[in-house]
Symmetry: D2
Subunit: 312 residues, 4 copies
């Protein structure tokens, strides 16, 4: 699990340094255990590693993140070719207030924190350390590490895993404004080898509309509804070439090897001038997808068998 591991290991890129929530997501990947983990500074670098073949996969935040992500990740997946999402992971977003051993809460006057983490712990800090000062850090981990490098701050805001990496006292736990917050991460690789269907899968795509006529989005979504395919995510993102042109980031319930999903993608491909298939992969929440008999694999096979009888 070190960056300087033997040449025979595979490399996984992630937003570093060690101790970030992204690393916690990567720690959930069985095949990454014992391999080389390569910390990078942003989503673009992580995906560049995959495109260039320096890494087999990259873990990036995709939704509701405290470490960048969402728009940047979606836009990167829309514009960098040949990438595939191969797994999805959820990490509970909890924060600790940590300090060097021997420090008490009453001692804390200056807090080192990444600006986003600082914003997310605002309520707790206002109540418990109303007169604190803030020094910004470049990452949640760097905030904690700085306590050993200089004396500018008395405490730092850090993710729960920080205590695996540093000898730190925990002054307070669960100080995030939203105690049930989660960040959703995806593991991104390249190539066309898909994880096998598990019955609890997602298929991610990005698609453009043929033109700006009113009702076009509705027509596109009918491609899913007419095959009984449910969406779990739909977001419009500006394409960026001119104002008012959008692409849609969509997560579908099911795997492209499910007949109804494959058929919906065929319909979408005919409708949309630009469809990007981002992959089919197991859901992080392991929720089984229930399909009405009308749209299960058998229904598709039965319909084809029927059609074949109509015309000799």
């Amino acid at each position: 699990m070190s960056e300087t591991s033997a040449a025979s290991t595979e490399t996984y890129s992630y937003l570093g340094p060690a101790g970030t929530f992204t690393e916690a997501a990567l720690a959930q990947v069985p095949q990454a255990i014992g391999q080389t983990w390569h910390p990078v500074n942003n989503v673009g670098q992580a995906l560049d590693d995959v495109v260039a073949g320096r890494s087999v996969a990259a873990m990036i935040a995709i939704e509701n993140t405290v470490e960048g992500g969402v728009s940047a990740s979606q836009d990167a997946l829309a514009t960098i070719p040949n990438l595939r999402i191969i797994g999805e992971y959820l990490v509970n977003v909890n924060f600790l207030l940590v300090a060097k051993p021997g420090t008490t809460l009453a001692d804390v006057k200056v807090v080192n924190a990444h600006p986003v983490a600082y914003a997310q712990t605002h309520l707790w800090l206002d109540s418990n350390l109303p007169n604190h000062e803030h020094i910004p850090a470049s990452s949640n981990v760097a905030a904690a590490a700085s306590l050993f490098e200089n004396d500018l701050a008395d405490a730092a805001i850090a993710p729960p895993t920080i205590t695996h990496h540093h000898d730190l006292a925990v002054l307070a736990e669960n100080i995030g404004d939203n105690p049930t917050a989660q960040t959703r991460f995806v593991l991104v690789g390249r190539g066309t080898h898909l994880p096998d269907p598990t019955g609890s899968d997602k298929t991610s795509i990005i698609a453009e509309l043929p033109d700006n006529t009113a009702g076009r989005l509705l027509e596109m979504l009918e491609q899913f509804a007419t095959r009984g395919v449910n969406m779990s995510l739909l977001e419009s993102r500006p394409i960026g070439d001119e104002l008012g042109r959008y692409r849609f980031v969509i997560d579908l319930d099911g795997h492209v090897r499910d007949e109804r999903v494959a058929d919906a993608l065929l319909g979408l491909k005919r409708f949309s001038p630009n469809v990007i298939f981002l992959g089919s992969y197991p859901r992080a929440d392991k929720q089984q997808i229930s399909v009405t008999p009308r749209y299960d694999n058998q229904a598709f096979q039965d319909a084809r068998a029927w059609l074949a009888t109509l015309d000799d």
Copy 2:
């Protein structure tokens, strides 16, 4: 073209006797020329002949008819299995007032006419023969034939082809209330050999909804819209087992060998608990179907080729 022709000919059933509009429709069928034409009394008999193998095909009125049809024909096609529409024909519905040679309009006091033809020529009769009496006939042809059998009527209402069969004087032409009326006929056979696509084809189906939930019809029609398939006919017909249950009689533009039509039928088959395929056949009006590139055969092939690249 006689019912007692040689055993080597094929038999076509139609609503007789000779001279009906249905016979005029049958006369448009090239492969029926020189074969045996079998006149019957109603749609049920005509289709029975086909089911029992006594005839290779039957010509029946399907829309806007003066000789029965429409509902009876649609319901028969919905309930008798293994029938196929193999051709569509249009006949202009004109009526003549005919009489034995030597008769003038001033001589006409009693008119023999089939009740439906009588209803459709009502305006002309009221204007030109305000004091006439009406004797009903069992068919348009029987009305004319009766002039030679007894002296009860002075004139008869008949289709234009009547003069091919009887030596009659035409007292007035085009006496129908609607001078541009047409009846649409279909030629019905059995088996699964379909006429080849011509670029100007129709596909006829009958389908039931899965249940009576509001919006179900909309869902069914989306199966066509999402494949760019246009409908030229849509009618609800009571199924007959209980009030409020309907089946839908649908004509689609295109042939089942057109990719978009085949795919729409697959979608319909999955959605509907009961789909009856009535055939793909050339349109009577020879209107070419224009298809946007988004839904032409190439688009379907391209989409399949794309899908195949997603998953090895």
Copy 3:
């Protein structure tokens, strides 16, 4: 109930003569009891009486009829202005075989019958009177009446009410091919006074599509679905000015005084270049319409109250 009743009565037109199924439908109308009933020969005459003010209303067959109707009635309602459907009635279509008293089934060699009734009793006649001959009549009632006028036929096919009008022996009952057949009739008046809502109402409309673009019908039906309005009838009818142009005959569940129906009609009026409102009236089957709370009158009032709060 005679045509020569006092001037103070109101006149109702119907397809006569006395004894038809249409008369049986008229007998279900409480306000017609004791008024003048005027028998006419066809749907056009009946509606003409209403338009010209000679009758306050006309009873016409609208669906699945043995006395004409359906297409003729729908097209008449589509083209004659200022008509309104004010009631709906169902009549069981049963047939009797009747003869003069003293006749037995074994005596019957010739049967007098209206051609349509004859077609609908074909199976029974083939089984029970395989060698009979048929003489056509101009109506179901005329067939029975002819037994007293001449000796050409030994029996007649007639509706069950025939025994109210003639002293006839019933040789067989329920001889129709479909023992549960019903005909649906509507009572048509003029003016804009609508029957009050009963909770079991229908609203009938006829509408054209703005153009022939694929998907237009779907768009039109979405006007109903988005208000939770269910359809109980949908039929395409050729407009008649050129091939391929259709109007749609639609029955909606509910009354125009129901908020969701009124709102759907507003949407339809904006969408369609030509909408004909044919009326809101109590359903013959008295089935209560159930409406989800999302689309009941309260939901419409609540939404308006909410909208009013958004903007001062």
Copy 4:
């Protein structure tokens, strides 16, 4: 424009300090000129000021931002009651590399930058300062200000307006990875007084689906399509109470005083168990909305006038 201005002025909150892109957006607001501008640290504080009445309005980033925003802003608007968007503003996102006068590019070894701005200028920095070190700042403006406070960094990344506030040399312009990037901001107030329609307006709403049944989103979008209302933004956001529950953030073309928008909102209100109206306001891009005659105000008035004639 100072925070300590006279009591008679109105206060506007924005993400500070002076010099941020958010301040550049606020500078586009005519009614804010000459008033008090109150810099805050995050979106939550800005909106709190409005809710508490400390400010009349707050400028927040809503899309594609380099200063936080998007998800945080959308979620805040979804959960804090009584807020209204009253204007929309676009700011070009350009970055400068600045230093104290006398510094040259060759002198730059350490760069002070907010982490997000640093990520967005990564390509330029890698090409032009391949060996630089990075010190993080809490905001784009703080990065530049730090040059005067200590000697840790030689240069800073800052927005173009920084030179209005500090005496700085510009070492490089337009160093952002995406030279045409824009951030979209909205001005948020409270109360129900809406800006007047301009013909180029947006209406922002947030709505939940009634349940997770497949096709529900489609049904919701039909509420817009059936009124000819176009969407310019659609995003699903997790509601946060349990996984898989989403609310939808939607921008519609048009103003709630446009008939079609008001009617669509009525439909949406009936359909959705929870609709939040965020306001109708002029578009930043001043693009005129074109409406087909079928859905303009006149069409709505005509339909109501027609409906009123149906029932006396």
